[in-house]
C-alpha cells in the first residue's frame, strides 16, 4: 500500500515537472505550425530579406499592393535600435550603481537603496509605456524644438529610455551578484600591493567579473528585445528602415500586437505573419538566454 502511494505520488510529481517541458514544446510546435502555414503564402526569403513591411490585407482582388509585403528587416532594425538605446541607458547606470552598492556603500545605505531601486523592476511595463508616452515623448519633442531638429511624437528614443530605466535594476542586481562573487583574496592581494579601491575595482574586480557581467548584459538585452507594452505605447507603427532615434520606428513585438488585435479571419497571411514573428522572437531570446546562462555558469564554476 505504502509502495503504491509512493509510486503514484512520484508519478504525479514527475508529471508536474514535465509540464514545463510540455509548455516549451507546445510553444514551439504551435508557433512552428502556424509559421509553416504562413510560409505557404509568403516565400521564406521574402520574409527574411524583404525591406518593406506593409501587411495589409486586400479588400478587392485587384487592389494596388493587395498581397502586402512581409519583409521583416525594418522591424528587426527597429527592435535593435530601441534595445540598443535601452542598453546605452541601462549599462552605465546599472554598472556604476552596482559598483557603488557592492564596493563603496555602507551596509546600511546598501540595504535601503537596493530595494528602492528594485521597485523599478516591479512596476508593470504598461506603466512604463504610459510614462514614455506622456512624459518622455513630449520631453524629447520639446528638447528637439529647442535644439532645432525634428523629433517625432512617437520616437524610438522615448521608448528606449523608458525601457532602459526598466532594465536598470536587472543589470544592476545581476552585476552586483557577479562582483560580490569575486573572491576576497583577489581584492586583498590588490590592496596589499598598494592599489586604491577604485584601482582595485577597475583593474582587478571588473576584469574578473567581466564574463558574468557580459552574461547579465545579454540577459538584459533579451528582456529588451522581448518587451512589448512600452514599445506598443511609445514607439509607433511606422515600419521605416532608419537608425534615427528621433523617428517613430516599429518593432517585432509591436507588429505582433497590431496584427492580432482587432477582428480578422485566422487564415490570412496577415494573422499568420504574427506567428512567424513570434517564433523569430522566441528563437532569438532563447539563444541569447542559453548563451548568457552558459557564460554565467562557466564563470561561477571557476571560482567555486
Amino acid at each position: 500500500m505504502r509502495l503504491l502511494t509512493h509510486k503514484m505520488a512520484l508519478a504525479l510529481m514527475f508529471t508536474a515537472s514535465a509540464i514545463a517541458v510540455f509548455v516549451t514544446v507546445g510553444i514551439f510546435a504551435s508557433l512552428l505550425f502556424e509559421t509553416f502555414r504562413f510560409f505557404q503564402k509568403v516565400p521564406f526569403f521574402d520574409f527574411l530579406f524583404g525591406l518593406t513591411w506593409s501587411p495589409q490585407t486586400a479588400l478587392r482582388e485587384d487592389q494596388v499592393g493587395a498581397s502586402g509585403a512581409f519583409g521583416v528587416a525594418p522591424l528587426i532594425l527597429g527592435t535593435l535600435l530601441i534595445s540598443f538605446i535601452a542598453m546605452v541607458v541601462a549599462t552605465p547606470l546599472g554598472l556604476f550603481s552596482a559598483i557603488y552598492l557592492s564596493e563603496y556603500a555602507a551596509p546600511k545605505v546598501r540595504d535601503t537603496i537596493k530595494p528602492t531601486l528594485e521597485i523599478l523592476a516591479g512596476i508593470p511595463t504598461v506603466v512604463y509605456g504610459f510614462f514614455a508616452a506622456i512624459l518622455l515623448a513630449p520631453l524629447f519633442r520639446d528638447m528637439g524644438e529647442i535644439g532645432g531638429f525634428y523629433v517625432s511624437s512617437e520616437s524610438a528614443m522615448a521608448a528606449g529610455v523608458a525601457m532602459g530605466i526598466m532594465i536598470l535594476p536587472l543589470v544592476s542586481s545581476l552585476t552586483d551578484d557577479c562582483m560580490t562573487a569575486v573572491p576576497l583574496a583577489l581584492r586583498e592581494a590588490s590592496y596589499g600591493l598598494g592599489a586604491t579601491q577604485a584601482e582595485t575595482i577597475q583593474k582587478v574586480i571588473l576584469p574578473a567579473a567581466l564574463p558574468g557581467i557580459a552574461g547579465s548584459l545579454l540577459l538584459a538585452t533579451s528582456r529588451a528585445i522581448g518587451e512589448t507594452m512600452i514599445v506598443v505605447m511609445a514607439a509607433g507603427l511606422a515600419a521605416k528602415l532608419t537608425v534615427n532615434p528621433f523617428e517613430a520606428v516599429t518593432t517585432v513585438t509591436v507588429q505582433i500586437v497590431t496584427l492580432l488585435t482587432g477582428d480578422q479571419e485566422f487564415d490570412s497571411a496577415k494573422t499568420l505573419a504574427a506567428f512567424a514573428l513570434g517564433i523569430s522572437l522566441f528563437l532569438v531570446t532563447l539563444v541569447l538566454n542559453v548563451i548568457a546562462l552558459k557564460i554565467v555558469r562557466a564563470y561561477r564554476e571557476k571560482y567555486d
Binding site: S17, L31, F96, Y100, Y104, L117, E199, T228, V232, T261
Partner: protein, 431 residues
Amino acid sequence: MTEKIPSADTATKVEKSLKKRRNAQWRHRQYGILAISLGMFALLALLISVLGRGLPAFKQTVLNLEITTDAVSLGVDSLDDKQLFDTANFQLPIRLALRGLFPDARSRFERRSLNKLVSTGAGFKLREVLKSNPSFLGKTFKLEVPTSDDVSAYVKGTVQINSEGKAGKLNRQQVKWTDTLIEQGHLKSVFNSAFFQTADSREPELAGIWGAIVGSALSLLVCLVISFPIGVLAAIHLEEFAKPSKLTDFIEVNINNLAAVPSIVFGLLGLAVFLNWFGMPRSAPLVGGLVLALMTLPTIIIAARAALKSVPVSIRDAALAVGASPLQACFHHVVPLAMPGMLTGSILGMARALGETAPLLMIGMVAFIADVPTGITDPATALPVQVYLWADSPERAFAEKTAAAILVLLVFLLIMNLTAIILRKKFEVRY
C-alpha cells in the same frame, strides 16, 4: 653622500601621484552616486507624474438639481404604466431642471449646450433612484447627478480658460453657466465612488475600474489554482526525489529558459492552442488565467525549490530515522517548513502576473467590455489592459482615468509585495 637611493625615488613618485589617484577614486565614487541618483530620479518622476495626473480622477463633480418627476417631464402618458422604466426618458427631467435654472437659454443651440453640462449617466442615476424608491415618482426632490467630463475638468482646474473664453471643450456660454452654478453652490466635488463600482464606458465620467479589477481577480484565481499545485509538486520532484539524470537536467534547463521567454510569446501560445485548437471563449479570464499560469510556473518552481533547499537535511534524516517513508518525511516535515517560502514566491509570481499585459492582448482581453464579469468564461478585461485601453483613448478625461487606474494597480502590487515581505519576516526560520 648624495647618491640616490632607488626606493626613495619610488616613494616620492608614489607620493606625487597620490593626489591624482585619490581624485580618481573620488570621481569613481561620484559616478556611482550619480548613477543611483538618476535611477531614483526616474522612479520619483514616474511616481509623481502618475500621482499628479491620477489623483483628480478620484474626485467627481456633481450637480445638485431640484427634479420634478411627473408624467409630462418623463415623457410618458401616465405614471401607472408598468413599462415606465423601459419607455420613459429619464434624461428629460434633468434637462428641464437645468433649464429652470437658466431660463434665458432659448435657442436650440443654447439648450443643446446646456444639456451637455450633465453626463448622460444622470438619467441612469435618476432611473436607479426611482426604481429603488417608487414613492418618489411624481414628486419633486433634490438629486446629485454627475456632470459631463468637460465641466468636471473645468471645476477641478485641469483645464483653464483660454484667450477665447473657452475651457477645453466648453464654449464661452457653458463656461459662464458653470461659473454661475459654482457661485450658487449647485456644484460640488465628491469622492468618485462610481469609479470603483462600474466597468468601462465610452463616457469618461462614467467609466470605472471595477470591471477590470474583477477580471484581474478572476484571472489571477485561475492562475493560482493551476500554477501553485503544479509548481510546488514540480519543485518537490526536482529537489527531493529526482535522481540526477539527463532527463532531470533537461527539465531544469527547460524551466530556466521558460522563465526568460518574452511574455507575448505565451500570448501567442494561448491564442493558437487554447482559442483556436481547444475552442475556448475569447476574452475570458479562464484563458487569461491559463496563459498567466504557464508564465508564472517557472517563477513558482524556482522559488519553491529555493525554499525546499533552505530546509536542513537533519529534518529529513530525523523523520526517516523514526520510520517515516521518504514521502512522509517530505510531505509531513519538509514541505510545511518550506511553505512560507513557497507562498512568498507564489505571491511575487502572482504580482508579476497581475501587471502583465501583452499576453492578455493576444487572447482578446483587450475588447471594450461595459459589464462587470460574473464568471471565468464571461468576457472580461484586466487592470493593466484597462490602463492600455484608456491610455489609447483620445479623450482628455481618459488620461486622468489611465493614471488613476495605474494608481489602483500599483496599490494592489504594493499590497501583494508587502504581504510577501511580512510573510517572509514572520515565518523566516534560520537553521
